[in-house]
Each structure stands twice: as C-alpha cells, then as structure tokens.
C-alpha cells in the first residue's frame, strides 16, 4: 500500500490507473475511499482479464443491442464518439478528472475516457442520447433547463448522467449528498449552484420514476 499511496499523491496516469484495476484489490481499495463515485465504479470492474487482440462484443446501447469490434486499448469514450457517432458524450480532460465523459454502465456512472470498451460486453450502456424518448425530455434533462443548470453545456451530458445515477442510488439525497455525489464532475463555467438547485428540486419529487 505505501507504494500505491505514493503513486496516488503524484497523480495517477491513465496507464497507472488501468494497471491498478488489473491489480484487483489494490485498485478497488484505492477507488473505494479516495476517488469520486464514477471512478470508484470503474474500479469495481477489477478482475476482467486484459484484452490482447481486437474482439467482437455485444451490449445494449440505449436499449438497442449493438455488436461492434473493439481494440484492446480502446476506451468506451472512443467507441461511442468515434465509432458509433454518439457525440453527446464529451471528451474534456481525457484523464478521468472531470466527469465530462460520464455515461451509465449497468446504472453506474463511469468515466468513459478510462473505461475499457471491451468491458461493456453483455452490459447495459446509457448515454445522453438514450434518455429522452424523442418527444418528452427525461425529468433530469427538463430540470436542467428549468433551473438553467448549465452555460456552455459541454459538461452537461456528463452531469445529467451523474445526476441520474445519484438519484437512482438514493431518490432524495441531502444537499451534502448531492455535493459529494456530483463532486466528480467539473463545470468550468462555474454553474454548480444552479445544478444544485436543479438536483434539489428533483430530490424533493420523491418517488419520481428516474
């Protein structure tokens, strides 16, 4: 542990982090108490064997069965944006530090820039494109508009999915739980106070089907 703690202090590179996941217990232990929730859930994937050559995977993407060829080092973010043209998911820091690329994998918020694409095999992935049924907005999306919970909007898809994951974990989080739950996402325009208002309003609507 001391060696890992030292490494964490220096800042974890993408490679270090993936190694950490491969290391199983170490990665999980680190993420469990030191990393924001989205990262912690990526750490929970520890144990999958590493991919050595390209592989055909099948997963549910916004409710549709999708089969696609992925490369060993390919991230879920790359798969979504560059291969599948789902550009609602944004690349912001490309480093697992800002939450801009957050998507849901089996209802957990994950940083797709750190999440190996091959690991979604057999899982359910939800991106911002999958929230609205085409006619009505999802209540979280509507709340973000009603409370003007964004400015440039670039971090918004990530924030909306992180909000959804948070509310699915707990329908009525306290203000402190909202702050902690969304602290893994950065809004560079500085609109957190407005986001807080939107999520507080959602949290008070208990029992809403989110």
């Amino acid at each position: 542990m001391p060696a890992d703690k030292k490494r964490f202090k220096k800042g974890i590179s993408r490679r270090d982090f993936l190694k950490g996941i491969g290391g199983g217990a170490v990665g999980t232990a680190l993420s469990a108490h030191l990393l924001p929730p989205a990262l912690a859930s990526a750490g929970a994937q520890a144990g999958s064997p590493p991919l050595l050559s390209s592989k055909r995977i099948t997963f549910s993407l916004n409710g549709k069965e999708t089969t696609v060829e992925v490369e060993p080092a390919e991230t879920l973010l790359h798969l979504l944006r560059d291969k599948l043209q789902l550009t609602g998911t944004k690349k912001v820091c490309d480093h697992g530090s800002c939450g801009g690329c957050t998507v849901l994998v089996d209802d957990q918020a994950v940083y797709s820039c750190l999440y190996p694409a091959f690991r979604v095999n057999g899982k359910h992935v939800v991106t911002i494109e999958g929230l609205s049924n085409g006619k009505d907005l999802h209540p979280v999306q509507q709340a973000y508009i009603d409370h003007d919970a964004y400015q440039c909007g670039f971090c918004t898809p990530g924030f909306i999915l992180a909000t959804l994951a948070l509310l699915r974990q707990k329908a009525s989080p306290s203000v402190e739980e909202i702050r902690a739950g969304l602290s893994g996402n950065i809004c560079r325009c500085g609109n957190q106070a407005k986001i807080l208002a939107a999520v507080k309003a959602l949290a008070s609507q208990k029992g809403g089907a989110l």
Partner: protein, 747 residues
Amino acid sequence: MNPLRPEPDGLTYLEQAARQEPVAQPVSAPTKEFKYVGQKVRRVDGHLVVTGKAPYTHDIKLEGMAWGKILRSPYPAAEITALDLTPALSRRGVLAAVKLTTGRVRYIGEPIAAVAAVDEATAEEAIQSIKVEYKVLPFVVSPEKAMEENAPQVLDSPNVQKLFEYTRGNIKEGEAQAEVIIERTYQTSIEVHHPAETHASIAQWKNGRLIIWDSTQAIFSVRDQIARSLNIPASQVRVIKKYMGGGFGSKLGLNDHTVAAALLAKEAGRPVKIVLSRRENAYCVGNRPSSRITIRGGAKRDGTLTFLHMKNYTGGGVGRGDRCSEPLIDIYRCPHVLVEEYSVFTNTCASRPTRAPGHVQGTFALEGFLEELAAELKMDPLELRRKNYSDKNLGDTGIPYSSKGLLECYRLGAEAIGWNRRNPVPGQAKGKIKRGIGMATQIWWGAGVPGTVADLKVYPDGSIEAICGTQDLGGGTRTYIAAIIADVLGLEPQDITVRIGDTDYPWAPSSGGSQTTPSVGPAFLDAALKAAKELKAIASKKLNCPAENVEIRNRRFIDKSKPENSLSFSDVARELRRVTVFHGERAGLPPGFAYNSFGAHFAEVEVDTETGRVKVLKVVAAHEVGRVVNRQTAESQVVGGMTQGLSASLFEERVMDEAEGRCVNTNLHDYKIATFLDIPEIITLFVDSIDPRINNLGSKGLGEPPRIPVAAAIANAVFNALGVHPAIIPMTPERILRLLRPKEEKP
C-alpha cells in the same frame, strides 16, 4: 483584432469603439413595457444541449475528413537547425505534412510542423517520427528570474518593458496632503482558461472557398485573420461556430492550429480536423498574466484619498502582460495618481485575455489596499469606499457616467451579507476557526459595439427568422434575441428561429469584453421595431383604424379601441407577399458620457488556522448592468463568474518547473478547479436600472463583471478574520499558514 489588447496607438478595441462618433441615434427610447425582457426566460435551445444534440466543433465530422496533429517544441528556447518531414510523409495513412516555423522557438508548445492522417492515432505517431534538430538555448520561465540582470533574454528586446503609464495631478502634492500613508504589494498567479471544450478547428476547401468550423468566440476575427495569413480574399472564407464549450477569452482570435488545418486540408485535398489535447490547452493557448502590484497611497484622517501610486510587473510569457490599472485610475475620487506598468517576458506561451483581463488583478490589489487603508484609518471599509465615491470617471476628473448604480449595490449587498456582523477590528475573530466578512467594488466597460447589424426576416406565413453572425458562448444569446423580438412583435420566444454563428450572416463583434448583449440585443430591437411599424401599418388598413391604435399581443394585431376587431399575425404577414428583411443596427453611443458597469461582492469566509484552509461560506453579488435582459441566464452568468473567481482565489495556479521550463500541472487533476464541494451559498442581486443613453435596450454587458471583484472580496474577508492580508492568490493552505506563522511565533 483582439478587442481587449491595445492596438499600436495604445487604445484597446473597446476604448476605440467608445470613441467612435455615433452612427445613428437610438431609434426609440428604452421601453419598459416588456413581457419577456427582464423576466426569467428558459433557453429556447435547451433541448438541444440536454439531449447531446447541440453541434459543438468537437462533434463535427465531414465526409472524408482527416485528422491533423501538431509537432510542438519540447524546449522553452531553442534554434531549429534541421527539420525533415519525410519520415512522417512516408508513413502509411499520412496524407500531408507542413512546416509551421523555422528558426527560433521561444516556449514549450510552440508549433513546428503539422501532419494530417487518416485517423488521430496515425497522425500522432507521424508527428513523433518527424526529424528535428535543436540547438537548445538558455531560458527563463519565472517573471522574478526574468527580471534579474543576467537572465536569458526571451525576445530580441529586453525582458522588462514598459506597458503603460498614466499621470494625473502630482503625487508629491498628494503625499504632502496625506495624513496616513501605506504601501502594500499584492500578487496574482497565472491562471489557465481550460475551457471544457479544448480548442479545435476543421478546415475544408470547397469550390475555391475555405470553410472553417472553429471553436471560437470571434468568427469574424478568425475570418479576417486567416484570410490575411493565407493571402486570400476574406470573401473567400467562411467561419462557422454553432456551439462552443467555453472560451473565457482564450478563443478570441486566430490560432496556429486553424492555419495548420487549412494548409493541410489544401495539401491533402480533403477536410482536416485538429482538436487540441488537454495538455496542449495547458501549454499553448494562453493564460491570465500574473501581476505583482505595489500600491503606495495616502488619505486624510477622514478617509479622503489624496494620492495613489501604482507599480505593476505583469508576466504574460512571450506576450504582453495585462494593464491592471484601469480600476485604480477610474473608480475612486483621487486627484493625484501615478501608474507605471511593466511587462515581464518569459519563455512560456503568450497570454491571452482572460475573463476581465487586468481588472481581476488590478481589483485584487486596489481593493486589498483600500481594506488595509481602512484598518489603518480605523474606518469601516465600506464607508471608506463611499467617502471616495465619484459620479465622473477618471477619479472624478473626467466625464460623467451615463448611469452608475454602485451605491445601490453597496446598500443591497451589505444588507444581504449582514455587514454589521463582521469583525469591527480585523483579526478579532475568536477560536481556531476564524470567520470574517469582506467586500470589493467592480467596474467594467461593456457598452457594446456601434455598427452591429442584425436581420429580421418575416415570412408571408408569419414565421420569423432572426439572423446575426454573433456567437453564443453559453450566455444564452439565442434566447434573449428570441425574447426581444417576441416582445415587440407580440409573439412567443419559441416562435422565432434564431440563426447565429456564421460569417455569412450580418456582422457582430467578437464575443468578449461583455460586448455581445449590448451589441446584438439593440440591433435586433431596432429590427423588430421597424418590422412592427410596417406590420402595424398594414394591420391598420385591414382593421380600418389608425396605426397608433394597433397593438400586437398574443400573436394578434388588435385595435385597442375595439379589441374584438383583430387579425392574426399571419393574416397581416401574408400582406407582405414575400419574405421581407428588416435590417437592424446597434446605434452609436452619445458622446460626453462614460459607459461602465458597476458591482460589489461581499464574502463571508471561515479560515482554519490549524490547516490553513479557507472555506467560503457565502457570497453576495450585487450588480448594476442597466436593464437585465434575461434574468434566468443573467443569474447563471453571475453565479458562474463568482464561482470561477472563487476557484482562482483558492486553487488555480499554473506551476512551472524552473529547472526544466515545464509546466507541472497540465491536466485537470493537477490543475485544481473548484468542485461541488467548494461552492458557497450565492446570492445574486441586480440593481433595477435602465441606462438612458447606452442603447435602445438600456443594457450593459454582464460577461466580465461578476468575475472581477471575487478574489478581492474573499481575500478581504480573510483579512477581516485574521488581521493580516493574504496579498496573494491562490490562497492555498500553505500560504495561509505561512501568513500566520510569524505572528504566532512572536513571544
């Protein structure tokens, strides 16, 4: 042209604009009877953003598009002695390669060459294969070291150069009149913009015309500058920007990578996209210059300022630093002022305007100085500011402000924060965790640019298109355009189709300097009033009543004297028989008045004297920006500006390794930005006012104002808690502890 950087004559673009003769007088006096303007209007394009469908530059993919990457200097100073692109060109998948520089490079990240390839990974590998030979030269990256006598020379001219000077009165005389004199030094660190969307451009040559999709705040500047750079007519360039993930001043002009994309696209014969990495964003696309400001000044016992002498050393890398003296020259009544500002050049990338350039640093120093002067005078710091309040610019020696709601900002802000709860004497707070309350004043320009044009198209079926080549940075430009037109034409905001972000549309200034709303809003109001006049004339004939009796509301033209006598909007529009364009223009600024926005922030903090941690508990932001056009998005602007300011006050600093010349925090993990856990209670207040002359809306810009006084207010609150001023941002725990140590170590 950069609106905030001085041109050769020493005036910034904003100042030049303010000096222009009026183009025309406003078409109508500001009107109060609005249904949407001044209210909270939801964004008309919100659904696009929250569903991920809004097209940002990062998201655009064209048929046959290639990816470009840029080879950048790994050395802070070097001579390129050889550059060979052949290894890159001979790689599979590489489509084109161009040289961008020869000779000397002066900062890490300076572009050297660029490559286009079939995909991003291939382009990245290709630039690594380019052969470059460097003769490494001595360098200096810290402004302090650059000022030393034997420091390596950064440019071909000295490292320290005069940036700005200003004199009024005679400070010797002011010094003689002073009963209390103090001298203090304040420092601000280099911040990096780090917009969420990194800089990106796509270039395409189509039928001899160059089309650029750019993540930019200034489509027309990019058009004109790239035309000049490539020596092609501006008419053969089109620049498009629909949605952008933040800019904060770092996207106000043409970038090297945009030129590279255009050159590569020409050579490759297909569109080329270049998206900068987060690391490139940290190294290559600007930052807020540092400042080291010393103010020596004095006052009479009753607080009357007699003189102010400011000296600033500001570091902007290979570019100039920021002029930081504007607030000191302008806000407070003071007869004797001397300002000396110097740029200090270092081997780091050139600075760029950063939300309220110069004013953030200058306000931190000026307002800190006043707080410490008030303590010296044993005076309420707010009273000291009121004592030196002025209704004329240049410290009461210039022309009158067209409108100034600062006293009302003071009153509202003091009441909302509970000003009387502060420690009457700084440092009196008890316990290990000490609380304090502080405030700071803000001034900015933001009158908008005369000559901004906008088109309103009325279709015979009654549908409306609003067209202007402006940019929405996230301030909600599309929404207030729709709201203004809807109000004048009796429609709903969602009835208006707004088209912006294209140089093929009518001209608007770059979106920086709080210029957008007071430029674009008035132009559309003008267009809408013209359309209403013509449509009312048609309606009056059909309704058989005088035109002045016709009122438009709820999508109908109504005879006021006989409300049942009415026509639908489309019934009247049909009479136009063709698509009719109404041209609107933002009229001139009546001369003889100064046009400025004002505000005051009040902050309450908690300082843990054991850990050095500063926690901001509450901020009250009171602003006077004339008429608030859309309260919904205006509140967001204030919340955002204040939060960015808090982030810079406590966390943000570009840290350089002086031995290697490298930046050690190039990612968003190491470059600290405020998160949800740092957000205080925020109260946003607007003074209810309408500027009578500034434009037909009576509105001033709001982009920069909320970003300006935050750090000063927080630092002054820390001063109120501890009795010693931090005098530097960011106020990291380490710095706070250092501040406390000597005091506690005293026997």
